[in-house]
Subunit: 426 residues, 2 copies
């Protein structure tokens, strides 16, 4: 029975039952973590053979003859550039292979814009009176943290089933030249699991922007992270931009953090040739180049993108049951009480859960008190402020299936309890 | 006979002889590179066994239980922090272990100062009207390039046999609050091979600075890179700073770029606990952390600092003969003609050569035309401008001994030719 249809008496009874379930859970002293989108040990184990691809008798030369052990090459060895180019469906000369963190590449890119500007800038962004970014919400907390740290004001743009609300995006960027960029996770978005529609991608490519140096930070973190036999498809934004002559507008990012090792993978970015040349002018000052031996380790392990795709199937086999465990618990426990919504993603790392207004913080708090850590309520919004206090990001991949089932059971109890409390307080 | 003592006739004859030697060298079509301080293949081979320390059956947990394959840990795994702490003679909680490039750590550090300021700053450095750095000269071109890129004005400070001229340093920093920092390579300096005296280090630690947020960028790249049985000793600047309560003043950098793999080693920085805390507040926004698997690979390979020191002896055995080849050629060929000076370093990667005024560019040009690439004349000075056009940095490590002998032979011919040309033109 839906909570909204219960009499006050029924609701009190419901709450009391749930409260006693909660109390007995709390007494168990759990210590579980569903807070971050981290791969589990089994997933990391899949990549252990990669460590055997290079040993003391290996030839550590790149296919172009470069000794990967020594200094040299800013933008990555050719075979690594090609692998990422194939995955991102761009050309190898549109790729820079970085260190182990695409977040670091994004931070670096925006920092360079602050200090030096980008192709088309009238001045460094830090010399502008005010800079703003659009933040599709709910979104990725680490994107928002970069803007907050740099003093870039964020404007929330609601996500739809097709991506950010493009009517709003178009209106804002056309009229405000202080809006210099937007954060996008275009495929299996974090946390909603949404893949941007073809129309959304086309509208991004053809945006009329008041700022001459507007940039799309296209964080394609989950481009090949499918959880379905009928995966989503994302239109190639680089190709669309080229049709519109706007290819300097987009910075595409990805990494192998959720393909090989999260802490020791490869990150890459793709952008126009003109942007690449501009970036390399700064990179040559800022580093001696990224770890080429690790690039070689990755490319020798995979060989080609088809093998990467095969590898991803093994990831799916490990994490799909975890997503299903959460989703079926929500279906069984939360669907009946009504008032909540959640995503059923075809890929990516998260389930986005929307509680009734004003309940998210309370749910996270209840979970925490009973020993289950969730991503903080509000984290999916700029400045940690979810205006409706509704959204919770569930990250099912890291715990074991049995821990996850337990944590989800508790989560459902906390949702029920918070919802009942809320209705009773009204 | 010294050129300066020759009659014009003798000088013309000398020049003609050298010119014909040069011409026959040129005809050989050499293609040699003495431009960068890169280790040679044999040196890199020393570290090949490191690749065997981790394989598919290894336990990739840090000593604190962290799975190095996954996300987590900003400042490095404990064993890597300890190894660098031991090498730099600081405590492990004063260390951040970074990626594969200490240059990138330096760039990051100065960029953070630009964008956010440092402990003690009144505002971000980029909000100051003007920022200046002191540049001991001759020095390292990549340090200077960072300042130039960021629009930080550099003021030359001459090097003495004890380090930068501290009378000048003290005078400048006491009276100009726009001077925010200084670049130092305190041990086996690049290119001069000078190790700062105890007095110099003490004077750095007790500097009275007009800027409340003055910083010493202490690039201790060659701290254990000895070429002698009686190596130089550098006073511990962190300890000296602590005696003066100035420990927030110093950022120490080093790396294994010339210990393990130049392109795939570890970099580290050391500074006060207060600075570390401040830096980590930014780091948590800018990256998911550096490659912990590579940290583990290094610490398992070395175990402790004593083994690192043993490893460095093997490097010395490879490169010391190269230094000696250059030095004995200079002694035999250039000492007799007079007018030139060069360093005889106890360690590091370079020989600093001072030609007569106005000759350095010409020498580099002559070498280049005959197929030997040297570091560009002027590169050891800010903005590439050697006011006396004297200094040339010789990097003997990368070529084979036979290539190096050939290149040095040519270098000596070019020096003679340029000196003779110069005298004849006067």
């Amino acid at each position: 029975m839906k909570l909204s249809e219960m009499t006050r008496e029924q609701l009190v009874e419901f709450k009391n039952e749930v409260q006693s379930e909660y109390d007995s859970f709390k007494a168990r002293g759990l210590k579980l973590d569903m807070s971050r989108g981290k791969p589990c040990s089994e997933q990391l184990d899949l990549t252990m053979p990669m460590l055997d691809t290079l040993n003391s008798s290996s030839d550590l030369k790149s296919e172009n003859g470069t000794d990967c052990r020594n200094y040299g090459i800013l933008d990555g060895i050719p075979e690594a550039k090609k692998l990422f180019a194939d995955i991102l469906e761009v050309s190898a000369d549109e790729v820079i292979v970085g260190g182990n963190s695409s977040l670091a590449l994004m931070y670096d890119t925006i920092t360079r814009a602050m200090l030096y500007g980008v192709v088309g800038s009238e001045r460094p962004w830090c010399k502008e009176e005010k800079i703003k970014f659009l933040a599709p919400v709910p979104g990725y907390d680490r994107h928002f943290a970069i803007c907050e740290k740099l003093g870039i004001e964020m404007i929330n743009v609601p996500m739809t089933d097709n991506g950010p609300d493009m009517d709003i995006v178009e209106e804002l960027v056309a009229n405000d030249s202080s809006i210099k960029g937007i954060w996008c996770v275009p495929m299996y978005s974090n946390p909603g699991g949404t893949t941007y529609s073809d129309e959304t991608v086309k509208r991004f490519a053809s945006l009329k922007t008041a700022a001459p140096d507007f940039r799309i930070f296209w964080d394609n973190a989950y481009c090949i992270h499918h959880l379905s036999d009928t995966p989503d498809k994302l239109l190639n934004i680089m190709e669309e931009c080229k049709k519109n002559g706007t290819e300097n507008r987009v910075y595409i990012f990805t990494s192998t953090s959720k393909i090989t090792f999260s802490g020791a993978g490869l990150a890459a970015m793709a952008t126009s040739i003109e942007n690449i040349a501009d970036i390399k002018k700064s990179m040559t000052v800022q580093t001696i180049g990224y770890d080429k031996v690790n690039m070689l380790r990755h490319t020798r392990f995979f060989g080609n993108k088809e093998n990467v795709f095969e590898h991803m199937k093994k990831h799916r086999a490990i994490i799909e049951p975890k997503f299903n465990a959460v989703l079926s618990a929500l279906e069984a426990e939360i669907a009946p009480i009504g008032g909540c919504e959640w995503s059923r993603p075809n890929g990516g790392y998260f389930i986005s859960f929307n509680a009734p207004k004003g309940c998210a913080k309370r749910i996270v708090e209840l979970c925490k008190e009973a020993g289950v850590v969730l991503t903080g309520a509000g984290a999916t919004f700029p400045y940690g402020k979810d205006p409706d206090d509704r959204n919770i990001r569930i990250a099912p991949t890291y715990p074991t299936v049995s821990d996850l089932s337990l944590a989800t059971k508790l989560f459902c109890i906390c949702v029920k309890l918070a919802c009942a409390e809320k209705l009773l307080a009204e």
